[in-house]
């Protein structure tokens, strides 16, 4: 059904993890009959297994609802889902740019969280109308008054605007639908102007080719129009277009203000990148829409197959996954310790974890990731532009370095005030500095710190949760590079550096960390035919040393009773173990040793 522009509403839901966004979306779908209740699975929009398991949204999704409002007219409501985790702020901003309004969902028992704040600020920056919702008011622990105070204090949201909802029980959801109609303005855009449609997501379908999710800013799209992607220059004839309900439902026409999809038949997602503008091939628009900033990788790590022969499988898997998630980067690299793999850049640690897990699950691979690193800026003594280093083993030698700069972030933490001291200590131990503190209500505060990103990605989040019994939440944004007294800590086995174990660390922490590393590695390297020194070094300066003593005994003592078959099999097993060992110089190290080094969190 074609609905006039004045009766369209495009909106997102922004919420902290677990505050009930997906349940609320399910309820909206049910009430507007977008989904047959009998087919209702919980968290319809989170279709990836991983999303359902982790209770988070990774990819943006969109769905079109049709709702008969109090005035008796049918309104088209386009719900554009957003990821809730800080790593995916980039995806959130895409979704928000396709909307005129946002429902802010806050758990009535938990109160607002750091990411809620960040996302609301993002929405306000885009000029969106906010509809504040307190969810889970059915909970005995709900404190709507306290949380409304928080909204008022932290975000200047008046109490009278706040809707009280229980998505679980459906309470307040009809009122919310009416508020969407009443408060969110309809989209603007001239349906007769040249076509401009912003690509805000895409996926690959093996029958329809690249399916692009668009928001029409201006103009009208007809079935079988020929379109051009303004940035990539690719042209295609539309195979199909339509709405998400949430299944793809074809329609013959999409006009300015609408949100929908077009199937292009294009085979390569790179030809229809998120942020590109679709226009008509015959009557193109004069200029593309502003588009998006490119996703910026903040965390880097090498991803390797546990068994080297899986490298070609990993290469295929990474390329395929990248079609679906263009926000990570990858390039081939090789490591003495780990063999052939890829250096990948991620939006954050959770993103890294998700990419690794999707590669392992969706492609049945067994993978190992090197320790995550940030991207450093290195100024060299002989001048020239600063170089960027995302792999510690690529850092120039000490003698060539004038200065190393590292990325810093501003960290916002929302926490019960009883943990202020614990978080102060945690953050200052991580080279952070305290910026300020404000009370959201009498018991909860918003704290701000500045912190090197490298310190954040080690295990800051885990520590934050541990030290606050899980109550604190955090969000961060980049605030640029700062010079620091950083060095590369190398680990040497029998004099040979083990590239996968090099890391860039603050000089003050180097000795302690070096001792820990060589101590652990000594436990993991099996005794060889000769003594093996294990050293931690900064340049040529050894700061820690341990020794793996020479092997004294490897003998099958008892070889009688004629059971020679068993002995031979034991030898064959040893041989297979040897074959799988990695060689660092003349030292044979089982892959498991590297895995153990990389899998254990150091702190």
């Amino acid at each position: 059904m074609t609905i006039p522009q004045a009766r369209l509403r495009n909106f997102s839901i922004i919420a902290h993890i677990d505050h009930g966004k997906s349940t609320l979306a399910d309820r909206l779908l049910e009430l507007t009959h977008a989904i047959d209740p009998r087919q209702m699975t919980s968290q319809v929009l989170d279709s990836m297994d991983l999303e359902r398991e982790k209770g988070i949204t990774i990819k943006a999704r969109a769905v079109r609802l049709e709702h008969t409002a109090n005035d008796g007219l049918v309104y088209g409501l386009n719900l554009i889902d957003t990821p809730g985790h800080v790593d995916f702020a980039y995806e959130v901003s895409h979704s928000l740019q396709a909307c005129e309004g946002a429902i802010l969902v806050v758990d009535a028992a938990q109160g607002i969280e750091a990411q809620t704040l960040a996302n609301v600020h993002l929405a306000l920056r885009e000029g969106l109308t906010i509809i504040p919702v307190l969810n889970k008011i059915d909970l005995p622990s709900a404190q709507p008054d306290v949380v409304m105070d928080e909204l008022e204090n932290a975000l200047a949201i008046p109490r009278e605007e706040v809707l009280l909802v229980s998505a679980k029980e459906g309470t307040g959801v009809p009122a919310l639908l009416q508020a969407i109609v009443d408060r969110i303005p309809p989209p603007k855009g001239d349906p007769k102007a040249p076509l401009q449609a912003l690509v805000f997501d895409s996926h690959y379908d093996q029958y329809k080719g690249v399916v692009v999710y668009i928001r029409l800013a201006a103009g009208t799209l007809h079935d079988h129009d020929r379109v051009r992607l303004m940035a990539s220059g690719a042209e295609a004839e539309l195979i199909e277009m339509g709405y998400f309900r949430p299944a793809l439902v074809p329609v013959p026409l999409l006009t300015a203000g609408e949100v929908g999809y077009v199937a292009t038949g294009l085979k390569n997602v790179r030809e229809a990148q998120v942020g590109d503008t679709i226009t008509s091939a015959d009557a193109p628009a004069g200029a593309p829409l502003p588009g998006y900033q490119e996703a910026k990788s903040l965390v880097f790590a090498g991803i390797y197959p546990v068994s080297g022969e899986d490298y070609p499988l990993l290469r295929d898997a990474i390329e395929k996954l990248h079609l679906n998630d263009a926000s990570f980067t990858f390039e081939p690299e090789s490591s003495v310790a780990l063999g052939f793999g890829f250096r990948c850049g991620f939006l954050g640690l959770l993103h890294m974890e998700i990419v690794q897990e999707r590669l392992e699950r969706e492609f049945s691979l067994d993978l190992i990731a090197s320790a995550p690193s940030v991207e450093y800026e290195v100024l060299r003594i002989n001048g020239g532009a600063p170089i960027r280093v995302d792999n510690p083993s690529k850092l120039p030698s000490i003698g060539e370095i004038e200065e190393i700069r590292e990325p810093w972030v501003q960290l916002s933490v929302v926490t019960p005030s009883s943990y202020i001291g614990a978080l102060m200590e945690l953050s200052t131990n991580r080279r952070g500095s305290f910026v300020g503190l404000e009370y959201l209500d009498p018991t909860r505060v918003l704290m701000k710190f500045e912190l090197p990103l490298a310190e954040l990605i080690v295990d800051y989040y885990d520590q934050l949760k541990t030290r606050t019994a899980g109550y604190a939440s955090m969000d961060y944004e980049e605030i640029g590079y700062r010079a620091a007294n950083l060095v590369r800590l190398d680990v040497l086995v029998a004099g040979e550096p083990v590239d996968a174990l090099s890391m860039i660390v603050h000089r003050d922490n180097a000795t302690k960390l070096g001792r820990t590393l060589v101590g652990r590695l000594r436990q993991l390297i099996p005794r060889q035919m000769f003594e093996v020194p294990i050293q931690a070094a900064i340049g040529s300066n050894v700061i820690a040393r341990e020794t793996v003593r020479a092997m004294s005994k490897n003998v099958l003592a008892k070889c009688y009773g004629g059971d020679i078959t068993r002995k031979r099999k034991l030898l064959e097993k040893q041989k297979e173990g040897k074959r799988r060992m990695k060689r660092v110089g003349s030292v044979e190290i089982p892959q498991e040793a590297f895995l153990a080094m990389l899998r254990t969190d150091e702190s």
Partner: protein, 425 residues
Amino acid sequence: MSLPPDGEAAPTGDLGWGAVAPVGLYLHIPFCVSHCPYCDFVVVAGREARGPANRIASFVRALEQELDLRADALDRHWGPPGTAARPLLDTVYLGGGTPSLLPTNSIARLLALVRSRFGVADGAEVTLEVNPGADERGDAGAIRAAGVTRLSIGAQSLDPKELRTLGRRHSPDDVAETVRAARASGLASVSLDLLYDIPGATLESWAATLDTALALVPDHLSLYALTLDDPDAEGITGPGGDHLPVSAGARRWRDQARRGQDDDRAAAMYELADRRLAAAGFAWYEISNWARPGHRSRHNLAYWEGRAWEAAGPGAHAFDGRTRRWNAARLDGYIAALTPSDGSAPRLPPGLQEPVTASGREAESAILALRTSMGLPPSALDRPALGPTLTWALEAGLLEPTRDDRLVLTLAGRLLSNEVFVRLV
């Protein structure tokens, strides 16, 4: 590679007969009074071994059946014993388990059967393994009268505390008494088995055990590093497997005991033993074996020299020069096949076999030869499958040429022999 149980595929045992007739015979007697937690050998203990419900008599009947079936097959293939194609046996070995738990008349009957069906050469070596406990070591005089010439005594340690750690029932005095009785009976050769790297042992306690053992003046010593394997993980304890599953208690004991082991201490113990034994007139002739002149175990040497031997009993291994064959470990299946309760004809027990390939044979015989003081001839250096590893071992000091121009493992080479062998398999 595994083939179907030959008990089903070839009831007469004709399958896979190869190059040569056996010169030795191994009989596995699985009974023990109690099961030591470190032991992987096929053992049944407790009420199956002693008391009114024991299964010794029905086992012996089954074993006699198997000996008959095996001898029938040899007769068919090689003719009666005592010819160039079918030599008389040079060695017979009753291992276990605790063969000395068999009534002496059973031992005598078994050996008589062996003599009549396989033929035993004059001067043959006939070994019986015994445990030293007063109620399990048997009567040395009667054992000798049955035809046994050599006693292998499972002493394991001569330190009372270590014996308790190992779950052994006997005392150091029992060992001494067993040796004394053997000597008194006139048995020609007496060997002691000892274990090193026992949890809680020290270099001093080991030296004391060695001194005590040497004071008993044995003819032969086997010194084994206590090795705590996991046969379940090796996949050899299934229904057709030649090992029995490890009990939960033994598994716990091993997990605990491994923490009390130490490679450096074990190596030091081995080196100490090699010195002391040499000084006492014992020459090492295999990684774990030392003997006074004329007292090497000919039966065990046959294994290492790649000779053919026949075998009977649950879990027993045989080799005919071409194929390695073994019986499954389970006593029930063994007895059921050989003495069917429905009166049908006896069948060979379930088991598996594995042909030795030409390349496997070359590596295997090199490894077995290198275990011994015979070592390999220098011409082995020219063999493509062996040369590079032997050269490496010579350079690494693990192997050395002897004055009579053979390549033999050094003391360090014996301790690190797997490093050499693993490069040969």
